[in-house]
């Protein structure tokens, strides 16, 4: 194991409840007390990350991800076990920590670089580089309070990655900022990796985990429950979430803290709504273009002459991506009786761009819910589309093209590349 960059050995973290602070003070002086309650948030965590490897850490909120990261970075002490790392660890956990709004970008960088343990000469050497990477122009010498949050994040990231660390810890922090800069950040992270930096990535974003990581570990209730390929771990993660949803009766608030709006007279109600793959496995993350089955289970509570089920997929801003109903589909239910249960299957290919989407459901008697509104439910389901298999693209829909290029009226092809003598030729690029 000479190439291990990071070894986490039997790490456990417990928070102690002392009941009285006097017992805590007693502990420092070697006094033991049986009345101290230990409360473990992490236990028996073992894994090894090799040099240059990228490992994702996934888990639900409260699973212990950030505690583990704090122990790895060293801000938090482990109660048992330990972490050994070779080389310098840098964390993009809380970008811009310790920035003073009254100081200029340059002064803040000088100061925070000192906090990161750089010597003065190193800082002077790195400053021009940091200034150039941040690309905020003359603002670099303006007080930080005049910065937008995006600009602050630019300076912070430039500083955090000014020198290639041996282990880089990337948190969700990266999701803020403008697309151009985020792209630039990822480019730098990838470059670090090629040069041998080990990555530790924490994210709820399946896309990021699968795109960047060689391996993923999953935490659940403070235990390491999986250490496998990103695909396997994300499947397990999906399964775990699905299980949780099955177990509970109904959740009022949506996963991201938004409250789902439900209205209607209640003659029919949505029992459950979920996305599943062709084998009937419940999905939270869907790959671009993957076939899915949107299932809406409706229970009838009172006699209904005519029932129309509609749904609409919205992006995270609430804009409609696609919506239809059983009236448009010419499959209207008539004479539904109390106790009847209907299951609508909408099978389609997920031709949407990368992002988070929600599904709204409407139960009505006609194609518009303005006449009878049995139930209208926003944010009934939230899912994420990730691009893991397809060629990279931007935008909110997936419209895959067939790309060909003609040169001087003649079709170019990759195969004929060797024939060309000094002229333009077609290569796969990177």
């Amino acid at each position: 194991m000479t190439d291990a960059a990071l070894t986490v050995t039997n790490v456990g973290k417990s928070y102690r409840e002392y009941g009285s602070e006097w017992r805590r003070f007693g502990m420092w002086f070697g006094l033991r007390s049986s009345r101290i309650k230990e409360h473990w948030v992490l236990r028996n965590i073992n894994f090894v990350v090799r040099r240059g490897e990228a490992v994702g850490i996934v888990g639900q909120n409260g699973a212990g991800k950030s505690t583990l990261l704090k122990i790895v970075t060293g801000t938090l002490g482990a109660t048992e076990g330990g972490v050994t790392a070779s080389g310098r660890i840098a964390a993009i956990l809380e970008l811009g920590m310790g920035f003073n709004p009254d100081l200029t970008g340059r002064q803040n960088v000088e100061h925070s670089a000192g906090l990161m343990g750089f010597s003065r000469s190193q800082i002077q050497m790195l400053l021009p580089e940091i200034e150039a990477f941040a690309e905020i122009g003359a603002y670099f010498d303006e007080p930080m309070r005049t910065y937008s949050s995006g600009m602050q994040m630019r300076v912070a990231f430039s500083l955090a990655t000014a020198m290639r660390p041996d282990v880089l810890i990337v948190d969700e922090a990266l999701s803020v900022g403008d697309a151009y800069f985020v792209h630039k950040c990822f480019k730098r992270i990838r470059q670090f990796r090629e040069e041998g930096t080990t990555l530790l990535i924490v994210s709820h974003d399946k896309g990021a985990i699968q795109a960047l990581c060689d391996r993923a570990v999953m935490l659940e209730k403070g235990q390491l429950i999986a250490d496998a390929s990103p695909q396997e771990v994300m499947d397990l993660y999906n399964a775990l979430i699905a299980e949780k949803e099955n177990g509970s009766i109904r959740q009022v608030s949506a996963a991201d803290g938004q409250t789902a709006t439900t209205s209607g007279t209640g003659e029919a109600t949505v029992e459950r709504i979920w996305l599943q793959d062709d084998q009937g496995r419940s999905l939270e993350y869907v790959g671009v273009g993957d076939p899915v089955d949107l299932v809406i289970r409706v229970r009838v509570n009172a006699p209904i002459e005519q029932l129309v089920i509609g749904y609409m997929i919205r992006d995270r801003l609430g804009q409609a991506m696609f919506g239809t109903n059983t009236s448009y589909a010419e499959q209207v239910i008539e004479n539904a009786n109390p106790g009847d249960e209907f299951e609508l299957h909408a099978r389609f290919a997920m031709n949407l761009g990368v992002g988070s989407y929600s599904v709204s459901v409407a139960l009505s008697s006609t194609e518009t819910h303005l006449v009878d509104n049995f139930e209208w439910r926003d944010l009934a389901l939230i899912f994420t589309v990730a691009n893991t298999q397809r060629a990279p693209f931007v935008g909110s829909t997936w419209v895959p093209p067939q790309v060909t290029i003609d040169c001087n009226g003649q079709n170019m092809s990759l195969e004929s590349a060797s024939d060309a003598q000094g002229g333009p030729r077609l290569v796969t690029g990177r």
């Binding site: 805590r24 009254d102 100061h111 990161m116």
Partner: protein, 264 residues
């Protein structure tokens, strides 16, 4: 212990730049900037002089300057403000920097050092202003210039010992800072800064002498007001007390450091 010193040495630039930034951020966005650090204690002295000079001036023997009481006040304030600033800022230094401690790895002992450093810088500035005021009042305590660094070091050591000890405990029991703010006010009035020790009934003198700040403030007054040298014997107990406090607080700090982040 050695590694702590090493870490401090490695982070010396950070400590210096923190002190600098501390000053800088006070300059920023206020018209009078750093002047306020000096104006505040001076205003306090002016108020006390105005209110109390009539009662007090008669009782200041051995000094003929008509502004004797103001000079006396300034001397005492010079010492008290250093003590007060270090203790009150050390009390909350870990709590105030909780976010930083939780997120970034750096030698934690830097924080109290920054506090002491910036308090010392402020105090030196106050001292320079005081010298100017003294000169304007026709008072030139030359010998004091020699003793001032010694007094400052002793005051800082005592204040840091006490402040760090309580600052560490305050992370776990936040009432300590609140309680100490009251104690500091009371302490101020129990120490002869505004009044002279001579107005205290002799029966209470031995009690008053148990207060380490009595000896420290007396040192300031002896040098700055009367132009005397320091009597080393007076300071032996204070120096010992400071060292004991420093050792205890460092020991406590090392024991508590791993626990600290858990509760911040």
């Amino acid at each position: 212990m050695n590694e702590m010193l090493e870490a401090v040495w490695r982070y010396r630039h950070f400590i210096v730049s923190s002190i600098k930034n501390d000053l800088r951020s006070r300059f920023a966005r206020s018209k009078l900037g750093a002047l306020w650090m000096i104006l505040q204690p001076l205003a306090q002295v002016a108020i006390y002089s105005l209110v109390l000079s009539r009662i007090m001036s008669a009782k200041l023997p051995g000094i003929s300057n008509p502004y004797a009481y103001s000079i006396y006040l300034l001397a005492g304030m010079q010492g008290w403000s250093l003590f007060n600033e270090i203790v009150s800022r050390s009390l909350t230094v870990f709590v105030d920097n909780g976010r930083l401690l939780k997120k970034i790895v750096f030698p934690r002992v830097c924080l109290p050092l920054i506090t002491v450093g910036s308090a010392l810088v402020n105090n030196v500035m106050l001292f320079l202003v005081m010298i100017v005021v003294f000169a304007m009042l026709g008072h030139f305590p030359v010998i004091a210039l020699l003793w001032m660094p010694v007094l400052m070091v002793i005051t800082a050591a005592f204040s840091l010992g006490l402040g760090l000890l309580l600052g560490v405990l305050n992370v776990f029991v936040r009432d300590i800072a609140q309680f100490m703010m009251v104690v500091l006010q009371l302490w101020f009035w129990l120490t002869p800064v505004v009044y002279m020790a001579s107005i205290v009934p002799p029966s209470l003198h031995s009690l008053m002498q148990l207060n380490p700040m009595y000896w420290i403030i007396d040192g300031y007054q002896q040098t700055l007001v009367y132009g005397h040298g320091l009597d080393a014997m007076n300071f032996v107990p204070v120096v010992i007390a400071s060292l004991v406090l420093l050792v205890i607080s460092l020991f406590l700090f090392r024991k508590a450091a791993p626990d600290m982040v858990d509760v911040l």
